[in-house]
Symmetry: C2
DNA sequence: CTGAAAGCGCTAACAC
DNA sequence: GTGTTAGCGCTTTCAG
C-alpha cells in the first residue's frame, strides 16, 4: 500500500508527461512556461500522495549527490567533533549532507575511504589529511572534484586549505613562558611529519634558540594509549634536566601531561609552568587553570565550508587555490602566572 | 582520459556480455559456472583499468545503499562522539558507511532528517530519539527498515533499543551520597520527558523518599548556553536550603555545575559533595576528582551495531524486538569521600 | 556457460 | 507549453 510512487506514476494519473512533472518539481515551471493551473494541480497531487523524489535516481542521472565527505583524524577528539558539528550545521543549511569518517591518521585507511567516497559520488571533500595521500587527492582535483584541507595541508599538492598560524602560535607561547622567567622549557609533541606538528616544533625551536636556551623535545608515537603517553611524559619529566616549563603540542597530549604531572605531584606553576595547544573545557576548570592556545574553531569551520560551497557552485573553476591561515589566541591562565616571589636569574 | 569505465565498456573491450562481467564482479562466477580462464581474464583487465563499480547505479537497482544513518543528539557531546566513533569503526568493518547528523533534540529537525535519509535509501537507522518522532519511526518499521534506538527510547513504538539502567544508576548514586552522610541532596536535570532523564529523576526520588529526605530538584531548559546553565545552577545553589550534595544528571550539566561551584568557591566535598552522570576525562583530573556514573560506551556501541547488522542481514524479520539494558558503574572519587572528621547528625 | 534485454526513477535534448 | 525518448550504470530473468 505504501508503494512509493514515481514521477511516471504521477504523470500517468494526471495524464501528463513525466517531463512536465519533472520540470515542475525542479522549479522550472516558469522557465518552461507551464500553465499555472497545471502547476497547482500537480503540486496538489504531489502533496496529497506524499510523493518524494528518489534522490538515488536523480544522482545517477545528474552526477550530483549533495553529499560532502568529511574526513577527520578522529571524531572523538573534541577539536574535530566541534568542527564537524558546525560544518554539519552549515552544510545542512545549504542542502548538503555529510558522510564522515575518521582517518586515524592512517594513510592506507584514508586511501580506501577516498575510494569509497568516490564510488558514492560525493560532491566535495573536507579533509584533515594524513601523510601520503597526495596522489589520491591529485586524482580528485584532476577529476574536477573540490577538496578543502584543514588543520594541516600537504606540501606537494595544490589544494585549498584553512589552517592556523602554528608557527607563530607556538613561538608566542614559548616567548610567554620565557617572559615569566622559565629557562628550561620542554616540548612534548607527536612523532609526525604533518605540517601543523612541524610548524609547532619550529616555532618552539626558534623561540628557544633566540633566547639562547636549550631544546628539550619529546616526541611521542602516534596512536598510543593514554596510559602509554602518560608513562612517556612521566619519564620525560623525571629524566631530563629539571624543566621549569612544559609545552604540549596537542590537546590530548596536554591532558595526558596533566595526568603525568598529577602522578608526580608537581606544583604548577611553581615547580612547572604548563601550556598546551588547543583549548578544552578541562583546561579552564583544572586547578590551576591551564594556559592554552585557542584555535578559532568556529571560524575554521565557516571558512572551510564556504570555500567548499563556492567551489562546488562554480563547478570547481580552476581559480587559484586559497590557503587561509588564521590567527590563534593565547589564553593565559594560572598555569603560567609568573611566580609571585620575584624571579632571580639563577644560572 | 580518466573517463570512468562502465561495466558495458569492459564487456565491449573483452567482447563478452555485461552480464558475465556483472556475475564475476559479484562473485557469482562459480555459481554461474563461468570458466576460470574468463574470470581471470576479466579480473586482470578490471585491475588494469582500475574499474570501480558505480554504487549509485547499483543502489538504484538493488535498493541497498550500505549506508547507515546515525542520528545523535549532538556529535560535539563527548558521550555521543565516542559512541559514534566506535559505531563508525564497526560499521566500516562490515562494509557499511555512516551518514550522521545531530538532532539537537529537535523534533521537527529530526523528522526532516529522517525524511532526507529515506530519500537516500539509507539501509538502517541508529537513533537517540527526541520526543515526538513515533510516527516517522513507525513508518520506517512498517516499511521493513531496521531501526535501533540507544540512550533512550520512545514508549509508544516497539523498536529495538540499547539503553542503560538509568533508574538504578541514579538510585545507587543517591544511596551512596546518603551513606556518606549527606542529607540535603540536590538534583540538577534537564526539563525533558525523555525516558533516560525521567528514569534518572525517578531513581533520585525513590532513594530520597526511602530515606525520608526532601527532594531538591532543579530542571534546566534544553539548549541553553553554558553561561545560562551556570547561572541557573549558581542560583539554585544559593537559593535553596543549604545543600550538602548535588547530583548532575548529564555530563554537560556536571561541567557547568563545576563552573558554578567554582564561582561560589565552595569546598568540595566538605561544603558539598558532587556526583554526576556520564564520566568524562575532566572528572578524573579535576581537583578534587569527581565521582561519576560511567556508562559502558563501548558495549553500548557494540550492541547497537550488532543488533542493527543482524536485522539488516535477516531482512528485518519480525523477530521480537530486543531492549537491552546495560548496567553502569559508579566511579567513586574524591568529590564524595566522606569527610575525614566524623560526621555528626546535626538536625 | 554466456548473452539479450528490460528496467530501477529521473533528467533533458529534442520534437511537435 | 507539453510530450517523446534516450540513456545514467547496474542487476537479473530468461533464452539459448
Amino acid at each position: 500500500m505504501k508503494k512509493r510512487s514515481s514521477i511516471t506514476d504521477i504523470a500517468n494519473v494526471l495524464k501528463i508527461s513525466p517531463t512536465t512533472v519533472s520540470f515542475i518539481l525542479n522549479g522550472k515551471a516558469r522557465e518552461k512556461r507551464i500553465s499555472v493551473e497545471l502547476v497547482e494541480k500537480v503540486e496538489k497531487y504531489i502533496a496529497e500522495v506524499g510523493y518524494k523524489p528518489n534522490s538515488l535516481a536523480r544522482s545517477l542521472r545528474t552526477g550530483k549527490t549533495n553529499i560532502i565527505g568529511l574526513m577527520v583524524e578522529s571524531i572523538s577528539n573534541p577539536f574535530f567533533a566541534t568542527i564537524a558539528r558546525r560544518i554539519e550545521e552549515l552544510a545542512y543549511k545549504n542542502g548538503y549532507k555529510i558522510i564522515y569518517s575518521s582517518t586515524d591518521n592512517n594513510t592506507v585507511r584514508t586511501k580506501e575511504l577516498i575510494q569509497m567516497f568516490r564510488e558514492r559520488h560525493v560532491d566535495g571533500y573536507i579533509i584533515s589529511p594524513p601523510e601520503g595521500i597526495e596522489e589520491d587527492v591529485s586524482s580528485l582535483i584532476n577529476a574536477g572534484i573540490p577538496v578543502v584541507f584543514f588543520d594541516r595541508y600537504l606540501t606537494d599538492v595544490a589544494v585549498d586549505s584553512v589552517t592556523i598560524d602554528n608557527f607563530s602560535s607556538s613561538y608566542d607561547a614559548v616567548k610567554h613562558l620565557i617572559s615569566t622567567g622559565c629557562r628550561n622549557i620542554g616540548f612534548v609533541t607527536l612523532d609526525s611529519l604533518q605540517t601543523q606538528m612541524q610548524d609547532r616544533l619550529s616555532g618552539y625551536e626558534k623561540a628557544i634558540e633566540e633566547a639562547g636556551l636549550t631544546l628539550h623535545v619529546k616526541e611521542i608515537g602516534f596512536n598510543q594509549s593514554t596510559e602509554n603517553i602518560v608513562r612517556h611524559i612521566v619519564t620525560f619529566l623525571k629524566r631530563s634536566v629539571k624543566l621549569d616549563a612544559i609545552f604540549f603540542a596537542t590537546n590530548y597530549l596536554g591532558i595526558s601531561g596533566l595526568k603525568a604531572i598529577r602522578t608526580l605531584e608537581l606544583d604548577v606553576p611553581n615547580d612547572l609552568s604548563v601550556i598546551t595547544f588547543d583549548d578544552h573545557e578541562l583546561f579552564e576548570l583544572h586547578k590551576p587553570s591551564i594556559t592554552a592556545i585557542f584555535q578559532p574553531v568556529d571560524e575554521i569551520s565557516d571558512k572551510v565550508i564556504n570555500i567548499l560551497l563556492n567551489k562546488m557552485k562554480s563547478g570547481a573553476k580552476h581559480k587559484k587555490e586559497q590557503n587561509l591561515v588564521l590567527p590563534t589566541e593565547l589564553v593565559i591562565r594560572d598555569s603560567t602566572i609568573a611566580a609571585t616571589v620575584p624571579m632571580v636569574n639563577n644560572d
